[in-house]
Amino acid sequence: MTAMVKAEGVHKSFGPVEVLKGIDLEVKQGEVFCLIGPSGSGKSTFLRCINHLEKINAGRLYVDGELVGYRQKGDKLYELKDSEVALKRRDIGMVFQRFNLFPHMTALENVIEAPIQVKGVAKGQARERARELLDRVGLADKAGNYPSQLSGGQQQRVAIARALAMDPKLMLFDEPTSALDPELVGDVLDVMRDLAESGMTMVVVTHEMGFAREVGDSLVFMDGGVVVESGDPREVLTNPQHERTQAFLSKVL
């Protein structure tokens, strides 16, 4: 089975600041892959590289066996056109820390927007599917509400439904519960757990160690732009080998 995401020595700099200093990792198909680490460790940046929201400076990054953002011909790399990048992004769902729902559209309109505009799905069909998805995230009765009329947790669940509407083969979660009030976190995690059980490949940047331990199949601890420690979440979280992991976990657990 091919790896869904494969990183080989991925480097990324913002100007003079090197954020990723050579990341090597592999996300298997159907796996829930958790990225943890202190803020500024580069985990969110790495996630954004996977769907080419950020360009990497060195190394190779593959999604489902295909190079991200480039095409290789012989020993030369060609940058992909915007339309080609967009074509690949269709298959990668992304959920943001700050939800980023479209505020001028209702929950339902948010969910049907991309299928209609990008895939050309018929409106009636898209609506039907959107209602199913909103029902799946427990928001069937909020279809007509604007994002400003929803709580943070509800907005994030709409955002998950919006990403699922494109039938992605990979879902990226960028600290999906960090902007939520504590009592709303559970609802979002429940939806993600349900999604994991359905076999979706998920890369999750998170501070929810409970979620990582329960649902995660693999876990990577990043610090200072490198992978410090990786392995089975239950193993790493209960018995960290590296002292930086130990220091981090002692603070958050």
């Binding site: 769907n51 929201l53 915007d82 339309s83 967009a86 074509l87 690949k88 992004r89 269709r90 990668i92 769902g93 992304m94 943001f96 700050r98 980023n100 729902l101 479209f102 505020p103 001028h104 559209m105 209702t106 927007e113 991309a114 505009q117 990008v118 604007y146 994002p147 400003s148 009329q149 955002a159 919006r162 990403a163 494109m166």
Partner: protein, 314 residues
Amino acid sequence: MTDIDKKDGPADTPPAGPEAIKAIPVRHYGRYVSAVVALALLAAVVYAFSQGKINWGAIPDYFFDDRILDGVGRTLLLTILSMAIGIVGGVLLAVMRLSKNPVTSSIAWFYIWFFRGTPVLVQLIVWFNLGLVFEYINLGPFYKNEWSDFMTPFLTALLGLGLNEAAYMAEICRAGLLAVDEGQTEASHALGMSHVKTLRRIVIPQAMRVIVPPTGNEVINMLKTTSLVSVVQYPELFRAAQDIGQTSGAPAEMLFLAAAWYLLLTSVFSIGQYYLERYYARGSSRSLPATPFQKIKANLLSLSNRSASTGGTA
């Protein structure tokens, strides 16, 4: 200063607590004095105008004169067409200005610099006199004419106002586009939407909320600025009023007449702007601002409630 004299207290008063406060409200004597002074000044101004040598009767006589109505029609036509040029040009310039292509963004910058930096009156007269530079206009097989025949007063006015407006609209549109959170573009791109679709479906509808209010301002400004084109011999409202003033012997009266028409038209535009803003505000706030009709209804309701419930203190 205080709300204590209000009968229906704010929500944060402790429920079922001790008896409600009954205090003597602070007397604001300064307010009474300033109100009397302001009213007196207003009365003096009105009195002065009513006693002046102005034949007020001439205004209703000419208010619906054919020449005036034609002028109003031309003013409206010019306002709408030059705003249309301004908005289309402005959007184009704003997108050019924000593009990553250094050539187009510099050209847009230069255009805005030039047209914002010179008075519109000067621009109008320059357009009118461009015959000194271009003797003929020659569009190949389609059109060929002498510049002075081609550049009618209407076209001069339209180009002069429209191209100037485009520079201002460009800055308004740019501000609107920049005001939309970058996360919106990212979310849209992450869903696989193209640049053009992102702009059209996600960014522009949100930018409109920022763009509409200053654009309404520009429309009203444009309506008034059209009075400048009287200098290039275009017979709009102001020019028509002046012409009538000279032949009828009531020049000052006709100025008041023109002013009344401008006020009327700007008022109508303001109402249109209000409803446009309401449309683009959808989803941005939990409840939309009330329309004037809803406000009047609510006021009437609260008025009748107040007189019923607080008859004693009123």
